[in-house]
Point group: C3
Chain length 166, copies 3
């Protein structure tokens, strides 16, 4: 039987935000949440914010956010990315491969375990999509600050089953 | 009547640098200003520098650059990107969609309104290309420093009407 | 006679790591070292680490790493990227163009000559692939910290002679 990301989401009991709901869609003014070109779906960057724009574990790892909280924030943002994918494709099962992931972690105080924070996102996608589809090329960068004080920001592109331009 | 980005540039009175002029082209030594592959045009990163390489509003937002100056610098860099697009395609009207934008802002002093700075670029592109073409997926990151003390740096890719490899 | 990157590697006497060797491949757990989609090969980010994961010139340029050491670290990471390309394509001669390069340099103390560090990577690729293929669009960003204390991190995508999805 083939792997289904949507079935895995149900098994894991993940709550994925519905960005088709206008109250959330309004957050994107001069930006697009996604763009499709050929078989590549480019996703706008996501932060670990809830539906009301409240940051989860805001601050900087190494100062006022622990490694464990940073990992949880990365996982939270990765779940939000699933919401974007559903908005773009209708179903997570239309994804045939994660192509590229760039992650940024707000850090300070000499903190250098960036990869241990960003694993929160990488691990989530492997849990949902499995090894073949869910593993992505990746970079994790420790930066000064992110919008609205968020501790984490992630931008990704995925390959889709079908081709489209929109 | 269909939207014309070139007509909009004239209406807005924007001065776009001509990177076909050698004195400017010389800035790209071991780097390319752009690369086309299929319908994707990948643009080299641009800073808010004038034709003579002088940074506009250099420094860091939150320390020696205001939010308004940062916004103006972002807009200035976004206009420079238009010069790159003309160099690559001959006309802005060959662009069918902004795909991906990554923006970096040099910040300090706990400044976190990154998105309010990077809107300077996003707003300019929507003014020139309209909502459908001009809105891009985007990420805005607050960093320690940028080349030559610039306050802003932007890298983008766009979809083009025709396919090419160069 | 046409340019051969593999011949150039032999002329330059470069030692390129063999990432097909399991002891190194193990470093990629929840991440992929590369993903191919159409003619674009997206490469995972590389740091200036040797085969045993030891960082070359760790620290921050402007504090405890000199500009020259930063340049050397960038060159070292760019050689590691060649190892990834061989893992993905079998031969460097399958590359028809460097498309996009993002580089991050850990900096401090007001250091802003980011581009002089990242040139270590750009120069190496031009030495190996020549101007037409080896020059890439590029961005160089000065950041707070990178994984495992590395001073440099680079992520790139290249165009390949043939099309594939894997």
């Amino acid at each position: 039987m083939s792997w289904s990301a949507e079935a895995r989401v149900r098994e894991l009991g993940l709550e994925i935000p519905d960005y088709g709901d206008p109250s959330s869609g309004e957050r994107y003014a001069a930006m697009r949440p996604f763009r499709r070109s050929g078989r590549i779906l480019t996703l706008g960057s996501m932060t670990p914010e809830d539906r009301w724009g409240r940051p989860v574990h805001p601050g900087r790892v190494g100062i006022d956010v622990t490694l464990e909280e940073g990992y949880a924030a990365a996982r939270y943002a990765a779940v939000n990315v699933l919401g974007l994918i559903r908005l773009a494709l209708g179903s997570l099962d239309e994804v045939t491969g994660f192509v590229r992931t760039l992650t940024f972690v707000a850090v300070g105080g000499g903190f250098t375990d960036i990869n241990k924070v960003t694993n929160g996102a990488a691990d989530l996608w492997v849990e949902v999509f499995g090894d073949t589809v869910g593993r992505s090329t990746s970079a994790g960068i420790g930066v000064t600050s992110l919008s609205r004080g968020n501790v984490f920001e992630i931008t990704a592109s995925v390959q889709t089953r079908t081709s489209a331009d929109e």
